[in-house]
């Protein structure tokens, strides 16, 4: 337990350092990319005087390091500034849009793990047989096209030609669910409105599946490769020689050690979905943070850009932290290695 705490403390410290580095980098990049934020915010018809006033108000006429000083001072108070696009505090925007994206990627993550890992196990167990070939081809298809292509294909197949799923949005307009957590699936359950829960679930299936498809393929391929490698280890041969059933060997002896490298990659995939979700969100009109991130980048909304990137970076770091802890839990050598130091 002490070793895990030590591992956690080390990782948290490193994560905070990374986050500070990201904030400096994003702050600088956002100001270097072409385009005057004040001009963009005020629109093409604004006069030079209007632009000058807004630049002054936003401290854009000060050197970058002084601007960063203002940013850090406000951040310490939990204030990320006001978005020039929505005219609201960036923290309000993030609080409104983040749950929609998190809900989407959590469901996509469930698809990724719930479908990808079993497919990989099946493929490894029936290596070289028809099932293996079918899964390998399907996995390859999954990883070879980006999520937004799958989004369009799935929309065409299952919303246009075969109208089984809705095209856009998080829930039908007939339902009004009081916002408690921002996660519609959770809020509808809290309101005991199961029809709304079903409706929200119905809306999330296609976008989450489109987002998860490449991850499913990746998970299946990695799990298969790792399990095949594990199957060749002497302890598997020993288990077989004891006469253990194949199911038990696959589940207890082959899968667990094979999971460690897959878990590392899946953890990264999971966090990367937060950034990659924007095209899927755009296609399914999903009002999430990734789409907001792209909108504010195009409008050079400095406060919102920095806020969004920091949140996505934090999510990335948290996902890595969780994966590190899971690996430490699964692999005693890492736990004990940490302790022996």
């Amino acid at each position: 337990m002490r070793s895990v705490c030590k591992l956690l403390a080390g990782r948290v410290a490193i994560s905070l350092l990374v986050l500070a580095g990201v904030s400096v980098l994003v702050f600088a990049i956002a100001r270097i990319i072409p385009g005057d934020p004040a001009r963009i915010a005020l629109g093409p018809n604004a006069t030079a005087e209007q632009v000058r006033k807004l630049r002054e108000q936003l401290h854009l006429d000060e050197p970058v390091w002084i601007q960063y000083g203002f940013f850090v001072r406000d951040l310490a108070k939990g204030d990320l500034g006001v978005s020039l696009y929505t005219n609201r505090p960036v923290t309000t925007d993030i609080a409104q849009f983040l749950p929609a994206t998190l809900e989407l990627i959590l469901v996509a993550g469930i698809f990724m793990i719930g479908i990808g890992l079993p497919l990989g196990i099946l493929s490894a167990r029936y290596r070289g047989r028809a099932v293996d070939h079918v899964i390998r081809i399907a996995s390859l298809l999954g990883v070879s096209a980006p999520s937004f292509v799958w989004a369009v294909i799935l929309m065409l197949l299952f919303a246009f030609f075969l109208p089984l799923f809705p095209i856009a949005g998080r829930i039908s307009t007939d339902y009004e669910i009081a916002r408690a957590t921002g996660f519609l699936l959770v809020d509808s359950l809290l309101a005991a409105n199961f029809a709304a829960f079903g409706n929200a679930l119905w809306h999330i299936v296609l976008p989450a599946f489109a987002l998860a498809l490449s991850g499913i393929g990746q998970a299946a391929r990695l799990t298969r490769a790792n399990m095949i490698e594990t199957y060749e280890k002497p302890f598997i041969e020993m288990a077989r020689s004891y006469g253990f059933p194949e199911k038990r060997i696959a589940r207890r002896y082959a899968f667990r050690p094979s999971l460690i490298p897959s878990l590392t990659i899946l953890g990264l995939d999971f966090a990367a979905m937060l950034g990659n979700a924007f095209l899927v969100e755009a296609i399914f009109a999903w009002p999430g943070l990734s789409r907001y991130g792209v909108t504010v980048i195009l409008r050079k909304d400095l406060n919102a850009i920095v806020g969004t990137v920091l949140i996505i970076s934090a999510a990335f770091l948290i996902a890595n932290l969780v994966v590190d802890l899971l690996i430490a839990f699964l692999n005693p050598r890492i736990r004990y290695g940490q302790e022996s130091k």
Partner: protein
């Protein structure tokens, strides 16, 4: 428990699938680019203007089907020169129930100018606004300004009492001028009331049953203005009967496909044009003969084919000169510009630069894919007279910075410009007056005393005939100077479901002649 939830969820999913197509009712669903917030003092582009025109009212409105303006919140007005007095209707209430008074007009003006955003620059010549009594308000101008009355279509009247009750943090008496409140709420008298606003998703508006002009029964009960939908999504939604009107930004191929599927195409025109703007400060286009060579070689006929959506509907109409057809000073609609290769060659021969020794840069705005095709057309046209050219893709944000210095401004910049009030002053002054040079509208860097003087004459003209005369002379002068190539007069095209009827976007006699106002939901009918 889990089994019950699962069963209920599955039932919910099934019911939802069945209900989708039938749930439209009196709801109008349309899309636009994202609108940050419905604050009337910040509205400047097409999407937020069309939203504001429905939630707020203005003292006057553009006359439908013709030039001029008609009273709206004002019962009547009088004045000329530097003083204009408006008598307000006595029967108007805001959505909050507060009655409209002259104080609200004064407050709306002060808020617009105080925030200094959106189209506030239109009121730069207004010295003061005073409430004479509860129903009378007077605008005092610093100098005569003929476009002033037209600019009032861009002064939405805000509920002062409601805004003052909802001031947010800020400095001074007016704190934030109610910006935080108005970024998510409405405070107008309009035919529709903001129910909710999510800048990433949609604004939902409900019919205002207490609207002072009444809202016809067939007008939509609810309007859902959706934001940032992808072309593929809009195409699928309209085809499935889940969307009613597309934005004008839908690619022409998609609009054509929808028209082929039986959808109608709606149009709005008359306030803007497409230009190739020539940088008159850099070689070789600092020579008028070189500019005229380019203007004559451009294929005005082919560009119309490029922007055509169907055989009868197009993204523009033929240009007749520097001023779009329908505005003061425009040439007649049948005097269209045509290509003249021989004249182009003659002008090129008279140009002091050798075409073998220069290359013309043609820029196009990265966010407007159509402009790439137009750049390629221009490049092919130039090649026909032996002029080399390069094509530059420039993001909008970068373009606005590039054009701030003449040495960084491309030889040819492609731009769509629209008159924000429908008056030619708001189209031409910003493009061609020497004091306006160096903005996205004026990459020509034109500096001509006669043009300046004619623009000032158009701005201060005492009567419509004076203004007509000034703008006609300006049109001729601009054609002589050839600082721009006038590609076509712009027309916005929208794909719409047959279940909606939009006279202001389909019948020229009902059109407002102001971008975005055709989307007055109260004038629409929905099945």
């Amino acid at each position: 428990m889990m089994t019950s939830i699962l069963k209920a969820s599955m039932a919910g999913m099934a019911l939802a699938a069945l209900a989708t197509a039938a749930s439209a009712g009196g709801t109008l669903r349309l899309d636009e680019v994202a609108v940050g917030g419905p604050d009337p003092a910040k509205a400047a582009d097409y999407s937020d203007s069309s939203l504001i025109f429905n939630v707020y009212d203005t003292l006057i409105l553009p006359r439908q089907g013709g030039p001029g303006h008609v009273p709206h919140l004002a019962e009547s007005w009088e004045g000329e020169g530097t003083s204009f007095t408006f008598n307000l209707r006595p029967d108007v209430s805001f959505h909050s129930g507060n009655p409209l008074t002259a104080d609200d007009v004064v407050f709306s003006f002060e808020r617009t100018v105080g925030l200094g955003q959106g189209l506030s620059y239109l009121f730069g010549l207004v010295d003061s606004v005073e409430a004479i009594d509860a129903d009378t308000v007077r605008f005092n101008l610093a100098q005569p300004n003929a476009p002033f009355v037209a600019s009032l279509v861009r002064l939405p009247i805000v509920d002062k009492k409601l805004v003052m009750e909802n001031l947010g943090d800020g400095e001074g008496d007016m704190k934030d001028w109610g910006q935080a409140f108005l970024s998510a709420n409405g405070a107008g008298t309009g035919a529709y009331i903001v129910k909710s606003h999510n800048p990433q998703e949609e604004t939902v508006m409900l019919r205002n049953d207490n609207y002072f002009l009444g809202v016809p029964e067939k007008a939509p009960d609810t309007v859902r203005l959706r934001y940032g939908l992808e072309a593929a999504t809009v195409r699928t939604l309209i085809a499935q009967g889940e969307h009613d009107i597309s934005s004008q930004w839908l690619p022409p191929e998609v609009k054509k496909a929808l028209a082929d599927d039986g959808m109608q195409l709606l149009t709005e025109s008359g306030t803007g044009a497409f230009y190739f703007k020539m940088n008159t400060t850099r070689a070789p286009l600092d020579d008028v003969h070189c500019r005229m060579a380019l203007s004559n070689v451009f294929d005005y006929g082919s560009v119309l084919k490029l922007i055509a959506i169907t055989d009868t509907v197009s993204g523009g109409s033929p240009s007749t000169g520097a001023i779009p057809v329908g505005m003061f000073g425009a040439n007649p609609a049948d005097e269209v510009l045509v290509r003249d290769i021989e004249a182009a060659k003659a002008h090129l021969a008279a140009c002091r630069y050798d075409p073998a020794e220069f290359t013309v840069e043609i820029s196009w705005i990265a966010e407007v894919p159509l402009e790439e095709r137009l750049a390629l057309l221009m490049q092919a046209n130039l090649a026909e007279i032996g002029v080399n050219s390069t094509i530059q893709k420039v993001p909008w944000a970068l373009f606005t910075e590039m054009v701030s210095k003449p040495e960084n401004t491309p030889n040819l910049s492609q731009i769509f410009v629209t008159a924000v009030t429908g008056d030619p002053d708001t189209l031409l002054y910003g493009m061609y007056h020497s004091t306006s040079a160096g903005t996205w509208q004026s990459p020509e860097y034109l500096n001509d005393a006669e043009v300046d003087s004619l623009l000032d004459a158009g701005r201060t003209g005492a009567s419509e005939s004076d203004r007509q005369e000034a703008y006609a002379a300006l049109n001729a002068r601009l054609m002589d100077l050839t600082a721009s190539i006038y590609g076509f007069d712009r027309q916005s095209v929208f794909a719409a479901s047959p279940r909606v009827s939009v006279p202001a976007l389909s019948d020229p006699a009902m059109a407002f002649g102001l971008d975005g106002m055709g989307f007055a939901f109260r004038l629409m009918e929905i099945e």
